[in-house]
Amino acid sequence: MTRPNAAAGPEDLIKIYRTSTLIKQTDEAIRGLLRRGRLQANYYSPRGQEIVAAAMAATLQPDDYVVTIYRGLHDHLAKGVPLKALMAEYFGKVDGSCKGKGGCMHITHPEAGVMVTTGIVGSGMPIANGLALASQERKDGRVTVTNFGDGATNIGSFHESMNLASLWKLPVVFLCQNNLFAEHTATELCTAGNIVDRAKGYAMPGILVDGNDPEAMYAAARQAVDRARDGEGPTLIEARTFRFEGHNYGDPSSYIPKEMMAEAKANDPVPKLRALLIERGIATEDEVAKIDADAAAEIAEAVTFAQESPYPDVAENLSDVYATVLENA
């Protein structure tokens, strides 16, 4: 069932672009810092997947919940995690989202609805169900979006979560960001059948969409989010996309066919959306240039902030383990 108002309007597209360029530039900044040795971090670049996150977030309310994975920068920024808090967390500083204790793989920022970022493949989904269960019981109208990769669709927690969400009609959206590889393994080598088809086995609607197409992605997201919010239950979205920078920072990506990479980069979704905005007259070159420049300025400020923020005191190792510090531990 396609719902009315599922199409992205001009404002939505501008918003998606603003988010996307912020993600793209932040990613470039982080990789620059890593390259120059100014930052040490296990970093999983979302470069190439910006539109998926930006379009999804454009359909969400500020208090909706998001769960994501180590490759989560795009999801974090799209949902509104403040750049300074994010950047400081990457640096392990006390002003980070999690006081530097969680780190870049575990960004949590409830004020922005980012509730969990997990480093264990597939684990976000069962937890997302729990967030959605709370919403269902409280009738708070929130939707929970859980992001995961193509590789994660082969782990048990995916299966258990899809089934439970469907049975209980939980207000959750399962967003599979299919970037065609799980670490170094191509999707078809580790996934029998098509991901989107798995939804049927749980009597759940499945939507296959080009995640790099902002309008298609927005429409798919919108449909799933509205369905969840209306109490009709979960949806699986398989958003096809690509990651330009390999699995983690430093990955030479030798397992990715050269032509595949070249083609993907030729279709870089962020400049493509930029061009589309201008072409359609939704924004002028000056306007998008300003968006780009604003992002750059914000990032520069956040990097400085993060670098200048102090490290947490080592006493932090004993706090937040339990609600109160244990005596003899």
Binding site: C98, M115, S123, P126, I127, A128, G156, D320, L326
Partner: protein
Amino acid sequence: MAEITCSQATQQALDEAMAADPTVLVFGEDVADPEGGGIMGSTAGLSTKYGSRVRSTPISEQAIAGAAVGAAIAGMRPVAEIMLMNFITVAMDMIVNHAAKTRFMSGGKTAVPLTIRTMSGAGIGAGGQHSDMYEAWLAHVPGLKVVVPSNAADQKALLKSCIFDDDPCIFVETTYIQFVKGEVPDDYEAPLGKAKVSREGTDVTIVGYGRPILDALAVAEKLAAEGISVEVVDLRTVMPWDQETVFKSVAKTKRAVTLHEAVVQFGVGAEISSRIHEELFDTLKAPVQRVGSMNTVVPYSAPLEQNFMWSQDKIEAAIRRTLERK
């Protein structure tokens, strides 16, 4: 005061907690009334009374534990049931990597006030995959609290303490004692982290928890006739355990035996024994002895299972070993 079974104690604790706080949720396999209110009847009546706050789940322990983690992060107080402790092996990721660590990794931004109820214990012929006690694993995971009651009153009071605690608690009910009755005073409370001196004595301290406490008390009674005075400390909470009470007791008796159902090797008794030696090296008259089950798979055949388990004889022998030295 009426006596109730341990299962009923759980049922009452859940009922009272749900009545007191609408954020308390209960879910697990077969827990709702159409499915019988739990295989032990520990959740009987709750779904009828509290509707969707009580849900039977599919056989999906990761989804069960995960739903508890998520609901807790969102501010609820879920009580999830993992039917038997051996089945936490399929939910360990949720418990260990998520429930336990979320508060710390979020820098205190999200808490996980969940309770996971589970059941286990040997002695009922359930064999190798339905009888193990793995509380030592969980005690080794910073961020978790681990509770193992030995009687109905504590089972009720401690379960409520877990539910209203702001940290993730693993609550282990011992299969064998679920039908054992005990008095539960109305106003009885049991805080987490506090041991109970179940019997006072002067010659040797038994430090244990769960079902074997009953055996410790029986042995203490028997040895009293011989003039051997045994103090029994029921830890109740395994992590964080009440070091103060234990050290105080052993400082007095100068001898100690640790006791639990789990196999001895790499068990909870090792931590307790080590700490006692570290703290009371000069006081101890004899090395701390450890009693638990044998380092083998829980056997099916009845005589093998009895031989595998801790026993009153083994407890008594351990006590006598500590008394050999003057």
